[in-house]
Subunit: 406 residues, 2 copies
């Protein structure tokens, strides 16, 4: 069994870096704070006797040798970047649970046959730079290193520059790194486990996701003298599309999701009719056919709105991954470990994307969920119980040991 107090202490220490007044964490990818967080975790990894490799997209792999180092490692990991108003557990828990597994193996002087690795992947959140899950995406070849390097934040800084600046542009070619099996522990980020009063979520699959940038172009003009009938108000046209995004998701329960999370209005002055509005669209479903239907319905609505209003509307898909069912062997490893340890459990489909879905393209993969308070994440009030985090980490330990063999 792992040491729950030590795991909790590590989580609280890492959460100091970028701590917000409301008890959350703001540690955006490739900022100075991200560098501080990375340095802290790498230092802990080295203290635990692990060797560290960084690849060209800044993914970090911390390795504990096995008795047979020719075997591909059994890997666990997640991310330590956060949302602008993020919490202490999202991602960070998956990385520090991996560290706690290694510390426990060290304490118990357990040698595994296959090596064990703890990874953290660059820019999982996608808040500062798109695409989301960038590090694991480049690693598995979902998109190229060049695409990722060229991604810009709102100030025009690129991933390539920022990686070099914080000293995490490594040497290793992404993906040039074998994986035997991959496990990831994570807070659920939804209300299902808490509602059902279960401790461990076995994750059969992750929903597919489609992200878009939509730009509506009207004509900026003075809010006073411009008659209503002569306006080309980019915001009013945008609000129709924003409402339809939610209406589409509501037509495909229970796994349809539709969200507009980001909006920019130009010139954003109270007495100027908006001339341009940019906003994001996020559509999800666990069924790829339904996700595609949602996509088609949205494009059709935009065509209709364009012809009804005469305004220019552009829509570009900026991210997509299909639903990802996890490997039966890894799902079973999680289920078996949970049963052995006697925790209450149920299956939970993941609505959030995780680095595990990209790892799953290269190796058998599985995930372990634990409840979080009120199902809230991507919020400074995100919270989780120490005993649940400990339980998830114990399940991780046993699932990894099943694959790595003692």
């Amino acid at each position: 069994r792992i040491n729950g107090d030590r795991l909790w202490a590590a989580l609280m220490e890492l959460a100091q870096i970028g701590a917000t007044a409301k008890g959350g964490v703001k540690r955006l990818a490739l900022t100075d704070l991200d560098k501080q967080g990375r340095d802290l975790v790498v230092g802990w990894g080295k203290q635990a006797g692990m060797s560290v490799t960084v690849d060209q997209i800044g993914n970090v792999f911390m390795r504990r040798d096995g008795t047979n180092n020719a075997l591909p490692p059994v890997m666990t990991g997640s991310h330590i970047d956060t949302q602008p108003t993020g919490g202490k557990f999202d991602g960070n828990y998956g990385v520090l649970a991996g560290l706690e597994v290694v510390r426990t193996l060290n304490d118990l002087k357990i040698k595994t046959e296959a090596p064990i690795e703890v990874a953290f992947w660059t820019n999982e959140e996608g808040s500062r730079f798109v695409p989301v899950m960038m590090g694991s995406g480049v690693f598995c070849g979902a998109f190229s290193l060049e695409t990722a390097y060229a991604a810009k934040d709102t100030e025009g800084k690129t991933v390539g520059e920022e990686l070099a600046r914080i000293g995490y542009k490594g040497e290793q070619v992404p993906g040039d790194h074998p994986i035997g099996a991959y496990f990831e522990t994570h807070i659920e980020q939804g209300p299902v486990l808490e509602d059902a009063d279960k401790v461990i979520g076995v994750v059969p699959a992750v929903m597919g996701l489609s992200w878009y940038d939509c730009v509506v172009t009207g004509m900026e003009a003075h809010a006073g003298p411009t008659p209503m009938g002569l306006r080309k108000d980019a915001l009013q046209v945008s609000t129709r599309i924003m409402q339809e995004v939610v209406a589409i998701a509501n037509r495909y329960p229970p796994y349809g999701r539709g969200t507009v999370g980001m909006v920019q209005v130009f010139p954003n002055s109270r007495n100027v009719i908006p001339g341009e509005v940019k906003f994001s669209i996020d559509l999800r479903n666990v069924n790829d056919e339904l996700l595609n239907t949602m996509h088609e319905e949205m494009l059709a609505f935009i065509d209709k709105t364009r012809s009804e209003t005469g305004l220019k509307i552009s829509i570009e898909r900026v991210s997509y991954y299909p639903p990802c069912p996890f490997h039966p062997e890894c799902v079973d490893a999680v289920r078996n470990a949970t049963a052995k340890l006697g925790y209450s459990t149920m299956d939970v489909v993941s609505g959030a994307g995780h680095d595990a879905i990209y790892a799953a393209r290269l190796a058998p993969a599985g995930m372990i969920f634990v409840p979080c308070k009120d199902g809230i994440s991507h919020n400074e009030i995100e919270d989780a119980k120490s005993e649940h985090l400990e339980a998830g980490c114990n399940v991780l330990l046993h699932a990894m040991l099943e694959r790595a063999r003692i």
Copy 2:
């Protein structure tokens, strides 16, 4: 008749100060550029034989004596500060048309019975410092000198400091300055004259204005795992209100106006359901009773939305002035001058606020509009035709002479 070429040349010379690459002007109130612009205009006024007074809020009055200086002056004026992306004509035209009237009277050696004054008012645009129409507002007592002095720009510099710094904090108590009648020429800032192919707009009134800040508070949560039915999406609720703002204005044609120009979404991340949205509302009408009805309908809709959605919605009125009908004698003076000169004309209600509405609280006032290209202002592409500017200035000359008597 005035000299249209000389008027155009003065406009183009003043537009050099703060000229932008896109052909516009950026000369924000109380900046070094504003000082340069003020100095240039004051120099021209002195060359034309006028005496200059500056009041404590930096309003500048340039005076040409009459034959009976006991009479209150017939005044014209406007402003020379601009929007951050402003044009060459908004405000500047009204001031330089006044100067051109005086130059013409000098050329023709015409003596008026009442003195003639050309004023420019401080910070009409309200871009750098709020409230808008600050100089004329203090002059007529709409708000206090102390309120105005304390106004800060985004860098924390105050109006009081900046006025002193550029040397335009005068001695005269604002308002301690009689006005016999006030005229203001201005580009229309709307499309009505151009659409109707008329040269002169006689302005019977300026619409009243009500500005609000609205804040909708929901609950930020992850866009993937949070089921649609459990969301408190602040943006979706906001879009209903944004649409209603326009719907309300459309219910009160032809002078109802409703605009949402400024929006901020928190945390503004593409995979986070917005937890808070702040936006501005701008309602206008030329009829105060209808403006009040619009106000009441908006509050009622917000109450309804609050109880239907359960989200917190706050609404605060941040600016208000009632509709301002101009004085029949001044409106007639403009109408008569236009008829005498034979220009095509129509009545145009002003949707934009002007210094004239504050001057109108102290003296009979009227306005003269000329067309601007595509009705566009508050934009670097703002444009107007020399012959229209000349026509408006001729109307100003004759309207002022009617009031000042030869």
